[in-house]
Symmetry: C2
Subunit: 188 residues, 2 copies
């Protein structure tokens, strides 16, 4: 498939010679913040843990995340008009684990979730959350990259000293382990 | 714009009442791994630091990242057929800072970059890197989300103990500070 046109456009993906193991090895050292995404498209609440959430633009306020075709929550999230993206602190590791565990009812414990006035299921204990509407989707490699424009946010107010507490420190996922950021992890 | 149809589809984004400040406050606690993306679409090499890289699928091997219309490197990356995504360890903070600094020639120091046999500029010191072809792009909020299918990867082989060294430990960006993950940051 190599042509003499060095800067050719590639209209269709060519077969990759990179194996899944090689690709995972390259990403093994790439850490990520942790989010739980919830939605209800009319067929009951779903929640899944994602390490693929990032802010694309602050004005307009847009974020993206990806969902795999292998997740049981994906059909609902792909159909939902609105979702809630929870950005988790270290104190909410239980919610992160809940959204990452297969074969359980993630909404069995009714003491940890509720519904917003607009109807979406959410976890009030999350450090911060963003309710938004799905404005675009892109299919890639059997997954869907979902773009969400924020309609409503909830975060500790600036200068809130409770935000310095250990449970509010950022949660990071890396190579099957959980980490907590703080002064102890800063590079001088 | 609120209707009685609770699960309405939203064909066009409605104006958001969330301010840029509120959106940034919600994301303030959301950390990310650090990557530098390089490309050359025929008009010279570009490099930019991104905290928006994530793996979408291992089979096929696909990743995504976003580039803002405000970055000088974006026009080249949007035109390039192939890019190199470098996933950085704590020992490569200098490369991360280089790709995040405006108004300088990021390729002035010819001792730290080179070209792959296929022509792309790259930083050989990066902990891991992935060369891939751009297979899809999605415009959202003035930014472009770029999907890249891996053609070639470079990573320390499994069991390579140099990968345990401090400089290979993951680099994390959080709220304008740099962090290093390791046993010291693990949640027990």
């Amino acid at each position: 498939m190599v042509t003499s046109d060095e800067h050719r456009l590639v209209p269709h993906p060519t077969p990759s010679s990179v194996t899944p193991e090689q690709f995972k090895a390259a990403f093994r050292n790439h850490p990520a913040g942790v989010a739980v995404i919830t939605a209800d498209a009319g067929d009951g609440p779903v929640a899944l843990t994602a390490t693929s959430v990032f802010s694309v633009s602050a004005e307009p306020p847009v974020l993206v995340f990806s969902v795999s075709e292998h997740s049981s929550s994906t059909p609902t999230i792909r159909r939902a008009a609105t979702v809630v993206v929870h950005l988790l602190g270290a104190g909410q590791l239980d919610i992160a684990k809940l959204g990452a565990t297969s074969g359980i009812d993630r909404f069995a414990d009714t003491s940890i979730w509720s519904r917003l006035p607009t109807g979406e299921p959410y976890f009030p204990a999350a450090h911060a959350w963003i309710r938004g509407e799905v404005v675009n989707q892109m299919e890639v490699g059997g997954s869907t990259v979902v773009a969400v424009q924020a309609l409503e946010t909830h975060a500790p107010p600036p200068g809130d000293h409770s935000a310095d507490a250990e449970e509010a420190q950022p949660l990071v996922y890396h190579n099957r382990t959980w980490h907590r950021l703080g002064d102890h992890s800063k590079i001088a």
